[in-house]
Symmetry: C2
Subunit: 342 residues, 2 copies
DNA sequence: GTGAAAGCGCTAACAT
DNA sequence: ATGTTAGCGCTTTCAC
């Protein structure tokens, strides 16, 4: 590692306060506040100009900590997600950041790495930092969530598709999404459709499994093989290899995440299996990566932006009610080539 | 969109302050502080126990805003990146978050979307929020950076490989990385190697271009075609199509990012061109996506974790000097199949 | 070992 | 329209 050195790094923060501005402008500190905040009192145009000028000349910037202390709000929200380097979550995080910024809120980002202890610790830490609420993409379901109720902070669950009593939540319709995807595969004439199911920390039942089952049943098809592995590329890769080696090799696979599908794709390619010729594939998430795999993935797109906006709005938006709401968004099938469509 | 409603959302924040704890424990507020912060004064074990008990019973949590106000530090840093949904940046963000958390700092994340105005606005907003510094993955180079010097806040440039006087910076060795990748392609016997160059907002000269040039020159090879497009999958896709259509179609391509390479791959696949058989490919970044493309990409891996740690450390670490430093990390060639290796 | 109190910078009710 | 001032919750110096 090379190191180069040149002089002079710019200095830290300004010590100029509202008081300095007031003195410089020849007004009281209250007036400065009124100008800075546009209220609550009106200020004479001439005075306002003087103050603005003083602010500019002095390079004054309000101290957010003091404001937060006084107001009891930091205009900041926390986001806890499992892993920001997972494309689906990074997209979600970006959308949340944008939605929050829209309302003048900043975003404190933390990764739980799928670790429950970290998750709890982060929520508590965020609470201590006086965030106005946290959006939690939890790794686990109900039982564990109860611990959070004592955290004394507004929480909305994002990417959470089951009802969680006592919490606001927003998620995607896993059941319908899975049914749609599997139904599409069935439409291509497949009769042996495997499920590559992602494994969660909490061992709850994921509705994507149910959706797969229901779609099969509705078509009078037998239950295909199930293989369970993490919601990752590696997990998918392992799943793909296992499916390939199994006695009843399926002719189609429904993967519960794009990442898994990407891993499966690799396993299939390595084995010289053609997609969708020999085995068709459909997945879930609708991440950008799915559009550029080879072949491009047919996938159920989660409306990440809308979901993020709903979560932010439920947390800090104007209409945030006091009832707990469970918002479920529909996924949308994005048809590409991995399923067998031209 | 379905909506379900159930009663009772947990209540907001606790109004219990250090004063309440003091009263409950029968001590002064100072002692509570000593206990909470483990200093600066020692406290009798018995007293400490009483205080801890009071804290637990009352569910007290220190108010970070007040602490920040008093101390002049929010124990928070800001990160400004172009786009958190770009895998390379999301990885970087994750690493920065981790490194900051290690030191007890939280991370305020913002996306500039490659927009200069947004970038500046974010830096200023972060400064107003009393962050202790910002890590900036700027979209532009020197000239524009000058504006930030007035922002009166510590800044370190991340993912910045040129020296920026007056700023700390950490980046990867673009020149050597590119030379290595192109050299590897040359080692496979290619003599016509194109460059898929990413375009930046600031129109500075990217050393990857120079590296490509130097590697070619060192091998006595003619300059291959250059095609310029954004650092994205779409940009790569467009670049791939243009390269395919060009009169002097190359037998190898060096792409300046994995994302571009993924786009190129798609263009090549669509055209029925085999990789690496007909055209070999190497790229830059070393993101996870590169490992799971088909074929897997040979790429120059940026040590994101180390870079993030260095940036955080330069910003808030113990040894942060007052001289401006420019840290350049070496990239490491990850050899996979897209280059022609078995 | 413990406590009293000043003050960080800001907001807004109240006074003028 | 503008000024005065209390106090948000915390840290820490200085006294005991």
């Amino acid at each position: 590692m090379d190191t180069m050195t040149t002089p002079a790094v710019q200095a830290p923060r300004s010590p100029v306060t509202r008081k300095d501005v007031a003195r410089y402008a020849g007004v009281s500190t209250a007036v400065v506040s009124y100008v800075v905040n546009g209220g609550p009192k009106k200020v004479a145009p001439a005075t306002e100009a003087k103050v603005q000028d003083a602010i500019r000349r002095l390079g004054y910037r309000p101290n957010a900590a003091a404001r937060a202390l006084k107001l009891g709000s930091s205009e900041t929200i926390g986001l806890v997600i499992p892993d920001n380097s997972n494309p689906f979550f990074s997209l979600l995080a970006h959308a949340v950041e944008e939605a929050a910024a829209e309302l003048g809120y900043a975003l404190l980002l933390t990764n739980s790495d799928g670790n429950l202890a970290k998750e709890l610790q982060h929520v508590r830490n965020l609470a201590a930092r006086q965030v106005d609420g946290v959006i939690l993409s939890s790794v686990l379901m109900e039982p564990g969530l109860a611990e959070l109720e004592s955290a004394e902070i507004r929480i909305v669950l994002l990417n959470h598709s089951a009802d969680a009593p006592g919490f606001n939540s927003v998620g995607v319709d896993l059941l319908e999404g899975a049914k749609t995807a599997v139904g599409h595969l069935i439409g291509h004439g497949h009769t042996s459709i495997a499920l590559a199911m992602g494994t969660n920390t909490g061992n709850y039942y994921d509705s994507r499994e149910e959706g797969w089952l229901q779609a099969l049943a509705a078509a009078g098809l037998p239950e295909g093989p199930i293989v369970r592995s993490p919601f990752t590329r590696e997990g998918g890769y392992a799943a793909g290899k296992r499916l390939l080696a199994s006695a009843d090799r399926p002719t189609a696979i429904f993967a519960t995440s794009d990442l898994q599908a990407v891993g499966i794709l690799r396993a299939l390619h390595e084995a010289g299996v053609s997609v969708p010729g020999d085995i068709a594939l459909a997945s879930f998430d609708g991440s950008a990566e799915a559009e550029y795999s080879w072949p491009p993935l047919t996938t159920v797109k989660q409306p990440a932006k809308a979901m993020a906006e709903a979560a932010v709005s439920a947390l800090i938006g104007a209409h945030r009610g006091n009832e707990s709401e469970h918002l479920i968004f529909p996924g949308e099938l994005q048809v590409r080539q991995s399923c067998g469509c031209p």
